[in-house]
């Protein structure tokens, strides 16, 4: 039986409120807050990026996993904001955690589902027996184009999962997926900001693939929504995951612990993985979790996990998601935000 | 070892010398020195310069300077110990003469800092710190001294006013020095209200960026007595010591072993105690530096540097004048030149030539020149009869 041996997260300290962004562009903050179910988002500091968030999340995962990092046989970082276009984030992470040199890596990209794809690969590498442990990370410090709707939500965060066969905090019961070539959101090489299809990102994209993956996994396992204690969806805003949950037959008690976007924003490849981490942070043993990601382009990965007794033993060995979300945070205004996110043109 | 005297001293007004190049100012100081000496003989040359490579893209000063000095075949040495390069050049010239390798040895200290941007100058200065374990982390020299200042204030209760008084005193002295870069008097209010550079040090706690040079000519006492142009001034003691380059590797951040050891060696060689010294030129790269230096030299007890300054002990009229020239703060700090300029001032005072800033009955002087955050220190004891 394979599953999660340890998990860890890293969320930046800084926050910017919807009002701050709306003020600059002369937009109506209340309607954004209501329409997106979003209050504020995380902002990475100038000395943070996808690699630093990944390393700090991975180190927290190691605190819970309690393994020797040299035994990790593969490291996969899924992101759409890797620091280099050519030179993997995975090598930086592997060196920083002490997994080198006998370790596989290559970076993943699939918009917001690169992190869960990394999880899928890591779990099955362990299942195949070819590695003892594999590390999967979803991390992003994505940019939203100034004045665009996505600027309110594009945020930063990372979640890391060490997969193995023993001493699990959560067993993997099943996976499935649903993927097509759907152009709802993309970024060309050398473009600084992504482009998206507006309302096209709803039904033909997010809804179709998320539902497709959920229906497939429920059919495969003969399970029903009420069989789950928790469900986590990809959460680009605070609205979509609630709408899809209710549409598919889930309720608030199931989705509320994994819904972070209202005060975090959309951490892209970190989005549903962070929701899973927040869920694990407070789950009891032997509870069933359904995790469904979504990445534009487009596809969804679905996972069913079941928590173990060991989760309770190791949970407090690393910082909890809610603690990072709610405590020791600092609000910044748009000028600092623009400086941090390098939107200010400087001399060469 | 033969006994060594200083027979010639030369410098010029320091500041932002846009029209003069590195070689121009080095040679100008040397010309003034040789003219002052009453002789034309130079057997060897030592140049103290911290970073002509970074500031000016020019190394190999040991060829450039003798060439432009019109003495193109003489043996020359370039020495470097960050901000102690000048003092080290004087010590090296002393060794040339004392050992018998040269009869007349010239030491020139020079730094031309204003050809590059302020940002690049900060980078060049930071090479005096540990590049990979201090400068890499974004600390600069005001920052390193600021950390020392914070500790000094926490341990001894040193105050903002006491730091400010160092700058006020040195400007008061520098206003009497025709060569000083900033010969303006200031007040404690001006210092305390100047912009913060690295907490708790402010702009007026920091010595400036300066272009400048100074030169001294050394020979044997025997030769000096023949020339007899000036009262005889000898170097009776020298000490040189090193300490860890990085602050983090010192067990007690307020114990400056390089200063203490070099002072002990110099005083011992001269057969003197600190109480025998009439005045000192010390390395006030930052106001806090003068405070901890006078403690390390033994002029005052540890922690008493601030109170002593406020009480006027170290003023021109005080019982132990410190930095009659105006110090690095008012006179300027062209890095490699500073140590040589300290000798210039000491000689000038001992000869009785310091005019408005003359210290009465000055017979014995101490100069203290240190590099980086105290990683190296050279002390000279000079005497006249």
């Amino acid at each position: 039986m394979v599953g999660i041996v340890g998990y860890g997260t890293q969320i930046p300290r800084y926050r910017i409120r919807v009002e701050e962004i709306a003020k600059i562009w002369g937009a109506d903050a209340p309607s954004y807050k209501k329409g997106l179910n979003l209050l504020e988002k995380s902002v990475p500091a100038p000395d943070e990026d996808c690699a630093t968030l990944s390393v700090n999340a991975a180190r927290n995962a190691l605190l819970r996993a309690n393994i020797n990092a040299e035994e990790i046989g593969a490291v996969y970082v899924g992101s759409e904001s890797h620091p280099y276009a050519v030179k993997p984030t995975g090598t930086i992470v592997s060196e920083a955690i002490g997994a080198c040199p006998y370790v596989h890596t290559a970076d993943l990209e699939f918009a917001c589902k690169a992190g869960t794809e990394a999880m899928f690969i890591a779990l099955h590498l362990v299942k195949s027996g070819v590695v003892k442990y594999a590390l999967a990370i979803g991390a992003d410090t994505s940019q939203g184009a100034p004045g665009d709707a996505l600027e309110y939500s594009a945020s930063a965060g990372a979640a890391a999962f060490i997969m193995g066969e023993n001493n699990l905090v959560a067993r993997l019961l099943e996976t499935d997926c649903y993927m097509t070539d759907t152009p709802d959101f993309w970024r060309r090489e050398h473009a600084y900001y992504p482009e998206h299809g507006g309302r096209f990102t709803g039904l033909p994209a997010y809804v179709k693939h998320t539902s497709g993956a959920v229906n497939a996994i429920l059919k495969k396992t003969a399970l029903k929504p009420e069989d789950f204690d928790y469900v986590i969806f990809h959460q680009p805003n605070g609205k979509f995951p609630i709408q899809i949950a209710l549409k598919l037959g889930f309720n608030e008690a199931q989705y509320k612990h994994g819904l972070l976007t209202p005060t975090l924003g959309n951490t892209y490849s970190g989005s549903s993985p962070l929701g899973l981490a927040a869920t694990l942070d407070q789950a009891r043993p032997n509870e069933k979790i359904l995790l469904v990601s979504y990445g534009s382009g487009a596809g969804s990965d679905a996972f069913i996990f079941e928590t173990t007794d060991r989760l309770i033993d190791v949970r407090d060995q690393a910082p909890l998601v809610r603690k990072q979300l709610d405590e020791y945070i600092e609000y910044i205004e748009y000028g600092t935000y623009a400086k941090f996110r390098r939107k200010i043109v400087k001399p060469e | 070892m033969r006994d060594v005297a200083i027979i010639g001293i030369g410098m010029m007004k320091w500041g932002e010398l846009w029209e003069k190049s590195l070689r121009d100012i080095a040679v100008e100081a040397a010309i003034n020195c040789i003219e002052d000496s009453g002789t034309n003989r130079v057997d060897s040359l030592t140049i103290g310069c911290m970073s002509s490579g970074v500031f000016n893209g020019q190394e190999h000063l040991a060829s450039l300077i003798p060439d432009y000095l019109g003495k193109k075949n003489i043996p020359a040495t370039r020495v470097e110990s960050a901000c102690a390069s000048g003092g080290l050049a004087v010590r090296t010239a002393f060794l040339e003469v004392a050992s018998g390798m040269s009869d007349y040895s010239l030491a020139i200290g020079v730094e031309k800092m204003t050809d590059i941007s302020g940002s690049m100058a900060t980078y060049a200065l930071a090479t005096a710190a540990d590049q990979d374990y201090e400068a890499f982390h974004g600390v600069n020299f005001p920052g390193l001294y600021a950390m020392i200042a914070r500790l000094h204030m926490e341990r001894y209760g040193t105050t903002r006013d006491q730091l400010s008084e160092v700058a006020v005193k040195n400007h008061r002295n520098g206003a009497l020095n025709p060569y000083a870069q900033f010969p303006q008097t200031i007040t404690r209010e001006i210092v305390a209200n100047s912009v913060m550079v690295a907490d708790p040090l402010r702009l007026f706690d920091c010595s400036p960026i300066t272009d400048g040079a100074a030169a001294v000519l050394l020979t044997t006492v025997e030769e000096a007595k023949k020339i007899k142009k000036h009262p005889l001034v000898t170097i009776s003691g020298i000490g040189l010591a090193s300490d860890t380059i990085a602050l983090c590797n010192r067990k007690d951040l307020l114990k400056f072993s390089a200063i203490e050891l070099s002072t002990q060696v110099a005083l011992k060689m001269a057969g003197k105690k600190i109480s025998n010294i009439d005045f000192a030129e010390v390395h006030d790269c930052f106001t806090i530096a003068e405070i901890f230096v006078i403690e390390a030299l033994g002029i005052v007890k540890p922690g008493q540097g601030g109170p002593a300054t406020i009480d006027g002990l170290t003023s021109l009229e005080g019982s132990f004048p410190v930095n009659p020239s105006g110090g690095l703060k008012s006179k300027g700090h062209p890095v490699g030149a500073t140590g040589v300029a300290q000798i210039y001032e000491a000689v000038s005072q001992l000869r009785g030539n310091s005019e408005k800033r003359q210290i009465k009955n000055a017979k014995t002087a101490l100069t203290q020149n240190m590099g980086g955050s105290g990683g190296s220190c050279v002390v000279h004891i000079l005497e006249t009869k």
Partner: protein, 132 residues
Amino acid sequence: MEVPKHWREIPQRYRMEAGKCKECNYISFPKRLICPECGSQSFDPINLSGKGKLVTHTIIRTPHKDFTDLAPYAVGLVELEEGNTIMGQITDCDPQSLKSGDRLKSKFRRMNEEGKTGMILYSYKFVPDNGV
């Protein structure tokens, strides 16, 4: 940019690898060939935990242009749990709120880069140790 040097510094910057003297247990960070305390030339490897307390610090307000986005920022001397002291930037805090004795821990952070196209440098920095 000195690519080989920055690569060579990875064990120190990414993993805080240090050397513990076999004779006198003095910890040298970075590793050295000669123990500065006893002169011995044999060491055991040790990875520092990154946890410690603030000895002294300053707030840099006029940094080199590579660091202007973070200014004003704190740099300090941190006495680590293992007993040795190192220098580092302190981030994720209001620099004015720092006091000598504050408990800190290390985090992996982006230190610098050579323009838009050059190498990115990572290193340890310190943050207040408050459970996140």
